[in-house]
């Protein structure tokens, strides 16, 4: 049983295979990093199902990650809904299709804007906080201290956080969607008389399960990616305060990038399966 894979070195020095020694050093480092990430993910899946379950910590993290991110997510989503509607109106008006505004904005928000904006905001807020928190825990030996106290730090710190992000981001996205639609409704209301019933009727009339389900499913992957990157970077943080900053920073950058990559893959998969 490994306790600290990042610091475990092979018992005997092995001579490098020829094909490895030929590779440039940067590429070797990159491969090494990829290997570490794969092991990290495997370890997560191994430990997530093995008891004991740190339920209390999962709830605590869910509160920190989910509930505490709500104001930021809601504000961002509201502004995006409002601005998107105001910006789309002139173009639609040019084609005399202003009545399509709720449907168009609704589909944009539910399919793409809502999940991605919320995920990016969370990548910034949650990714950095996890990266920094775990980084400082690592640097100040809190992770070691946990291990010595008979608690599996990977399970207590990493698994609980990744589970929390995986399940909280979708909820935040749903709430963000709702708030963005309200923002959109206010923007439509500013320029034309429309009842909230008619607005939501128009939104949902043009929305299909094939719009909603893939968009919703991919948010779980967003959440998983954000949690995973934050934890990986923090857990493997380098010594020193500089390492903490670097962990936080690279968590945000990589998590944001991953959100877009997952989004791209999700689009391809959705199209491949013919909208389910």
């Amino acid at each position: 049983m490994e306790n600290n894979p990042a610091e475990t070195t092979p018992a005997k020095k092995q001579s490098e295979p020829i094909w490895v020694s030929v590779l440039p050093e940067e590429f070797r480092d990159f491969l090494n990093e990829v290997g570490e990430i794969v092991r990290f993910v495997m370890r997560f899946f191994r430990e997530v199902f093995m008891p004991p379950y740190e339920l209390k910590e999962i709830f605590h993290q869910s509160y920190e990650i989910g509930y505490r991110s709500l104001p930021l997510v809601a504000l961002t989503a509201f502004i995006i809904g409002l601005v998107l509607t105001l910006q789309s109106r002139p173009t639609l008006a040019r084609f005399g299709a202003e009545s399509w505004l709720p449907a168009m904005v609704g589909i944009s928000i539910i399919r793409e804007i809502g999940p991605v904006i919320v995920a990016l905001v969370c990548a910034g807020k949650i990714g950095s906080s996890i990266g920094a928190e775990l980084g400082s825990m690592k640097v100040t030996e809190q992770i070691d201290a946990m291990e010595v106290s008979g608690t599996n730090p990977f399970k207590y710190i990493v698994v609980s956080r990744i589970i929390s992000t995986t399940f909280m981001i979708p909820i935040l996205v749903i709430m963000g969607d709702a708030v963005a639609l309200i923002g959109s409704f206010i923007a439509v209301k500013l320029t034309s008389a429309i009842s909230i019933t008619l607005f939501f009727n128009q939104v949902f009339e043009s929305t299909d399960f094939s719009d909603f389900i893939p968009a919703f499913v991919k948010t779980f992957f967003f959440g998983f990616a954000i949690g995973l990157v934050g934890c990986y970077k923090g857990y493997n943080s380098k010594k020193g305060t500089e390492g903490v900053g670097e962990s936080a920073n690279s968590s945000v950058v990589i998590a944001s990038l991953l959100v877009f990559i997952i989004d791209l893959i999700a689009v391809q998969i959705t199209q491949f399966f013919g909208y389910l």
Binding site: F59, H60, S62, Y63, G66, Y67, L70, P170, I171, L172, I174, M175, D177, A178, F200, F204, E205, T207, D208, F209, S210, D211, F212, F216
Partner: protein, 320 residues
């Protein structure tokens, strides 16, 4: 309250709100695509579905009442569409209701329209098949329109040819239509006929008088009775007068028929275009009438000069 409890309450509120919103969204979208209402299945077979897809709407009387559940190819020319329709519609859709594939708006999604059946047909049951009507295909419509256009083009070309021919050939119709002299000639002839018939009337009166005087034995009756030569002459003259009158009568009858036909138009016109014989006969009739009319004064003159009637005519002149 314990800070931990407060956090848990907030977390619970957060998660429940999110879940509620999720369920709400699923319900709204689902109710839009008929997932949660009671439905029954209907089928319809088409030769082509024009790009109809799973999930497209089914409409009855313009209302969305269901969705397309499945589309399968039965064989090379038959595609079976499975529809899931709201259960309420069982009370409305009849056995002879028909399904057509239509379009939502000009560019919108394809959909199936179910038309109302007639009251005498029974209500449809779950899993039954609807009649299908070949869909109104815009392509086909345009093709038909194209054909119609070409036909109209041909017709209008023919018409132009006909009118051209009428003008160019100066045939009877053109003459009838355009020449004023014929009309005047006709009027003139009719005027003549009128005069002639008046004359005939007078002559026959005169003859009547002569005959009655002869019966009464006045004047030259004796001579008349005895002289057979004279009697023959007289009867011959009377016969000639009658023949002439009959001829005039016939001509007038013919003329009348023709004029009636001309007046009524219709069939006569076409006859006039194609048939020159009637025109000829018209012409001949006019000539005959003219000739008869010219003969009559001669005949009258001959009668006057006949000695048997000399006295009578003198008497007539004296009376005047």
């Amino acid at each position: 309250m314990n800070i931990e409890t407060i956090k848990n309450i907030r977390l619970g509120f957060f998660v429940l709100t999110g879940t509620a919103l999720l369920i709400l969204a699923l319900y709204f979208i689902g109710s839009n695509s008929n997932l949660f209402s009671k439905t029954f299945k209907l089928y319809a077979k088409f030769e082509t579905v024009n790009g109809l897809k799973k999930g497209n709407n089914v409409r009855y009387g313009g209302i969305d009442v269901g969705i397309i559940k499945n589309i399968e190819i039965v064989n090379d020319t038959t595609i079976r569409v499975e529809m899931s329709v709201e259960a309420d519609l069982k009370k409305v859709i009849r056995n002879n209701s028909a399904a057509t594939i239509g379009t939502d708006g000009l560019m919108g999604n394809k959909l199936i329209n179910i038309s109302a059946g007639t009251a005498e047909a029974g209500l449809i049951k779950d899993g039954e098949e609807l009649e299908s009507l070949a869909s109104l295909n815009t392509d086909e419509m345009l093709r038909t329109l194209d054909k119609t256009n070409r036909n109209i083009l041909v017709i209008s070309a023919n018409l132009r040819d006909i009118t051209q021919k009428i003008t160019d050939s100066r045939g009877t119709l053109y003459t009838v239509l355009m020449d004023t002299t014929i009309a005047e000639g006709l009027r003139h002839t009719l005027g003549n006929i009128d005069v002639v018939s008046n004359n005939i009337l007078q002559i026959s009166d005169d003859i009547n008088d002569v005959v009655s005087e002869a019966k009464n034995g006045k004047g030259l009756l004796g001579t008349l009775v005895k002289d057979t030569v004279m009697a023959e002459d007289l009867s011959k003259a009377v016969k000639e007068v009658r023949t002439a009158g009959e001829q005039i009568n016939t001509s007038a009858g013919e003329l009348k028929v023709i004029l009636e036909k001309v007046n009524n138009g219709g069939g006569t016109l076409s006859t006039l275009i194609n048939d020159t014989t009637s025109a000829n006969s018209l012409k001949r009739s006019l000539i005959n009438i003219d000739a008869s009319a010219k003969k009559l004064p001669d005949l009258m003159e001959a009668l006057k000069h006949n000695f048997l009637f000399k006295g009578y005519f003198k008497k007539q002149e004296k009376k005047k």
